[in-house]
């Protein structure tokens, strides 16, 4: 059975939006799924070897300066050579995420991947460009925060009043989850759609989506987020905007 290789191209060891999207997509794709992390040149040989018995590759990448991160670009060149020498013709999909709210800002990266597939005689099967990558992370943290508060509420309610199924707490938790799912709904829709295409080996199209927050609100949230982080790390006192 041909494998489906999911490659996380984020250089981050933890808390990467690309890694999260990979985990999410592996829930929807059927088959012999293999996961790989591409962070340095040391990863190339190991991943390239896996391409021999792989039929489909899905890349999960962060958008860096409107394009492919440089460490992934090095890999793409090696992959082109490997595919040519070994006569490997893979189906290639891409899920990229940008820090900007507009998914469309991933367009240049999509074009580069299409060109790459052409160069290495692989089949470009489409991609999803996602906007609001950082917020994807924030939302998944919020999910666990809400779940923690919910469990704590149940324990307190159970111990104090003997009520281990507090309706009010359940309602609040479900409402919070519904909001998170709504904010993710565009991303989830296109990822499930792509998974369907992957399962059938079809072209999925190139789609752009985002976290469903109005742009002006997203910019305010993003700015507050970076102010808080910069306060914590001290950058705000070291010529932050100069």
């Amino acid at each position: 059975m041909m494998k489906i290789l999911l490659i996380n191209g984020s250089p981050k060891k933890k808390m990467s939006a690309s890694g999260f999207l990979l985990t999410l997509q592996s829930l929807f794709v059927r088959g012999d799924i293999q996961r790989e992390s591409l962070r340095t040149k040391g990863d190339h040989g190991r991943i390239l070897k896996k391409l021999k018995d792989t039929g489909t590759v899905i890349f999960f990448l962060p958008l860096y300066v409107d394009g492919v991160p440089s460490h992934v670009l090095y890999f793409m060149k090696d992959m082109e050579g490997y595919c040519r020498v070994n006569q490997i013709h893979l189906k290639v999909y891409l899920i990229s995420n940008a820090g900007f709210i507009e998914g469309k800002q991933n367009e240049a990266l999509m074009q580069v991947f299409k060109n790459f597939c052409h160069a290495c005689a692989c089949e470009w099967c489409g991609g999803i460009g996602i906007g609001g990558g950082v917020m994807l992370n924030v939302l998944r943290i919020l999910f666990f925060v809400f779940a923690g508060i919910f469990l704590l509420g149940i324990i307190i309610s159970g111990v104090q009043r003997g009520d281990w199924l507090p309706v009010e707490a359940i309602e609040i938790f479900l409402r919070q989850i519904a909001i998170i799912v709504f904010l993710y709904s565009g991303v989830l829709f296109y990822m499930i759609r792509m998974a369907g295409a992957v399962n059938k080996g079809e072209f999925s199209g190139v789609k752009y989506t985002r976290v469903l927050v109005p742009s002006f609100l997203f910019i305010i949230i993003a700015n507050i987020f970076f102010i808080i982080i910069s306060l914590g790390k001290g950058g705000i006192f070291r010529g932050w905007l100069r």
Binding site: S70, M76, H118, S230
Partner: protein
């Protein structure tokens, strides 16, 4: 100030130095960006990786004109050149605004004049279109008022820069 980034052999440095104030050496002997954002949030415009690109944001940010000479890779820069651009996001600040009906980061050094890209090597029509589009996006996101793209049929065309 005029800065050149190029991935040509070192023998071209002498010629190119006559056309700019500074050359950023593309030797690939530096790390890739790790996506930590410390150049925004901890030590503004400085990378925490202490190699030759440690302060590359300042060098690029303070130049009115940035010239990039690069081999074509699928309609974008070569990996060592892209590495420099990835490591230079400190030319922007972490704060975002709406510009051109899109979200963009504010520029730490103000709007600069010109981003010129000269690409060489084999290039399909699709790659040429992609490259031009990429540079347009870069100019918008990195804060350049103007941009230009030239395909070099041969390195001999460097004299036109």
């Amino acid at each position: 100030m005029r800065v050149i980034i190029h991935d040509l052999e070192n023998k071209y440095n002498k010629l190119l130095l006559q056309k700019c104030d500074r050359i950023i050496v593309v030797d690939g002997k530096y790390s890739a960006c790790r996506g930590c954002f410390n150049c925004w949030t901890k030590h503004p415009a400085e990378c925490f990786i202490k190699d030759s690109l440690h302060e590359v944001s300042k060098e690029i940010g303070r130049a009115d004109e940035l010239i990039i000479i690069t081999e074509n890779y699928y309609g974008m820069y070569s990996p060592p050149v892209k590495n420099i651009l990835d490591r230079s996001i400190g030319i922007s600040t972490p704060m975002s605004i709406y510009r051109g009906k899109e979200m963009h980061h504010t520029t730490r050094y103000g709007m600069r004049e010109l981003l010129s890209v000269y690409a060489y090597g084999e290039m399909t029509d699709a790659e040429r279109e992609s490259f031009l589009f990429m540079i347009k996006r870069n100019a918008l996101n990195l804060g350049y008022k103007h941009y230009s793209f030239t395909y070099l049929e041969s390195i001999g065309g460097l004299g036109e820069i």
